[in-house]
């Protein structure tokens, strides 16, 4: 049978968290901090808009690019990050930000093109580069720099020869954010070496100390950047599978050409929910953001008390503590913790070599579970 599979499919390794998932599924009483999705439900107003759209029988395809009123609402919304995009030809509504990433890779990457992917990185970037025929080029970032991307990191990795650079800030898995100055440094490199940027800003609304800056707003960057965003994280709408891409008309047009032959259009019901989310759910987003912020402070403080060095992640809903002293191997630590205390964390190496020795901890989990999980980790470390 295997001979019928494409080389690409055969050579794609399973997700690094798969094995842990299978072990955890067999166990009772697991507290999982491995979940990369909000523990809140979508705001009720968005859900009722979805129900209403179904009751009215709005079940047809929409325009390939997405409903125009949704694109207009998105254009209005991204203005909060100083981004200006034309709903007619600079916005594409996709089935989750993940589809947008895949479309952009396929629209921009030719076989053999190098795509620089800063590590630790979200697990989908490297495979989607490969699916598009490109060569992923890992760019290591460092814990001492709080996993922000520096000019020197790009230089050291040889990203000058890459065609494209992927950014994800606020970052999954580290929770790292980039300051405007830090982004300007990256932009300088990008311009000097004529790279194109894919900026995944799905966690933009989840920043805890200052406002999000998009690299696309820096001088000279708009025309060489596609920004991804969506409704999964900020609005807790993961299951709606709705995202969008913002970028220059030529690139969005190319992405749409692929999109119209594959996905055709994003789910219609989800698009109605998304319009309502943008228009009426700011308070719900702010309430969730504040809850995450409290949990963030709590987990960082607890990990540091336990001797698991944890830098102050300022975005998304992850922290990335180091393994405790005496534990070099993040995978061994995560496995022992899961077996002995039924606490599920994700080993940092899943997100690339520079994640080794760290653990991804999602705090998109209720305070009671977080407290219990940290207590279990404490008792594990005492033994």
């Amino acid at each position: 049978m295997n001979r019928h599979l494409s080389t690409r499919a055969r050579e794609t390794p399973p997700s690094g968290i798969r094995r842990f998932f299978e072990v955890a599924e067999e166990m009772d009483d697991v507290i999982s901090l491995g979940v990369g999705e909000p523990d809140f439900s979508a705001p009720w107003a968005a859900r009722t808009a979805a129900i209403d759209s179904l009751e009215r029988g709005r079940t047809s395809y929409t325009s390939n690019r997405g409903r125009r009123d949704l694109r207009e609402a998105i254009a209005d919304r991204v203005e909060r990050y100083d981004q200006y995009y034309d709903p007619d030809d600079e916005i594409l509504v996709t089935s989750g930000a993940s589809e947008a990433v895949d479309l952009a890779m396929r629209a921009l990457v030719d076989p053999g093109d190098a795509v620089a992917v800063p590590e630790p990185s979200y697990i989908s970037y490297t495979p989607t580069v490969s699916f598009a025929g490109g060569d992923p080029l890992p760019v290591r970032t460092r814990a001492e720099e709080e996993f922000a991307l520096r000019y020197e990191d790009l230089e050291r990795a040889g990203a000058a020869d890459a065609e494209t650079l992927v950014l994800c800030y606020p970052n999954n898995p580290t929770g790292a954010v980039m300051s405007e100055d830090g982004l300007a440094e990256v932009a300088e490199f990008v311009e000097e070496h004529d790279l194109f940027v894919l900026s995944d800003e799905i966690y933009a609304a989840l920043r805890y100390e200052d406002e999000h800056t998009s690299i696309a707003t820096l001088p000279g960057m708009r025309e060489r950047t596609v920004v991804f965003n969506g409704f999964s994280k900020a609005y807790a709408m993961t299951g709606f599978r709705l995202g969008y891409a913002l970028g220059p008309p030529e690139v969005i047009g190319a992405m749409n050409r692929i999109h119209q032959y594959t996905m055709l259009s994003a789910p219609t019901t989800a698009q109605y929910a998304a319009i309502e989310a943008i228009k009426a759910c700011d308070d719900a987003v702010e309430e969730m953001r504040r809850a995450y912020d409290r949990r963030r402070r709590f987990v960082i403080s607890r990990f540091n008390e336990l001797g698991m060095d944890c830098f102050e992640a300022k975005g998304a809903f992850y922290v990335f503590p180091k393994c405790p002293p005496g534990w070099e191997d993040d995978e061994a630590f995560a496995e022992a913790l899961l077996q002995e205390e039924q606490v599920a964390l994700v080993p940092g190496r899943v997100f690339g070599e520079s994640g080794e020795g760290h653990l991804r901890v999602s705090y998109a989990t209720g305070m009671n579970e977080l407290k219990a999980a940290l207590n279990r980790i404490e008792s594990f470390l005492r033994e």
Binding site: F21, A24, E25, S32, V35, D39, N172, R290, R294, M367
Partner: protein, 162 residues
């Protein structure tokens, strides 16, 4: 947001949080949290701490009723005096002056419907200023002080996800 307001939000969500855990969430230190809570209590902002109970799961009878009260005021007797008198009854769990078709909304609790009816007819109705009572027995509670009753929602998210 100021610290006291944030503290109120946390206590409203879970009044049993320890000062240490509140400190970890807010960035204050535990001593400062204790001081602020003491201040909120002394100022009369925080009046007490109670559990939210789903009585359907308690193995004894417990009856709740909502009472609409109309009263007639005179020169000597205002809402305040009447309220003070009604609030003293241990059967009354909450008492509010409201706008609309009646004057006071009263929550009454007792061990049986008979208890509650008797309380209304023998203690409330005879108060001279009370002109009318309407009693609504609570048949089912779905939400109480922001907390939903019924079966606890299971977390159906995957154990791990991207």
């Amino acid at each position: 947001m100021d610290d006291k307001r944030e503290l109120l939000d946390l206590l409203l969500r879970d009044a049993r949080e320890s000062p240490e855990d509140i400190a970890r969430q807010t960035g204050l230190d535990a001593a400062a949290v204790e001081t602020l809570i003491a201040e909120l209590e002394a100022e009369g902002v925080v009046r007490g701490y109670q559990a939210v109970v789903d009585w359907d799961r308690v193995d004894e009878e417990h009856v709740q009723a909502q009472l609409e009260l109309n009263v007639e005021l005179d020169r000597e007797t205002g809402y305040e005096e009447i309220a003070r008198r009604i609030a003293k009854f241990p059967e009354v769990s909450s008492l509010r002056l409201v706008s609309g078709d009646f004057d006071f909304a009263v929550d009454v609790e007792g061990k049986s419907m008979h208890d509650v009816s008797q309380f209304v007819s023998e203690r409330i109705a005879p108060i001279p200023e009370v002109t009318q009572t309407v009693t609504h027995f609570v048949m089912e509670t779905y939400k109480e002080r922001g907390i939903e009753m019924g079966d606890t929602d299971e977390d159906d998210r995957l154990t791990f996800s991207p």
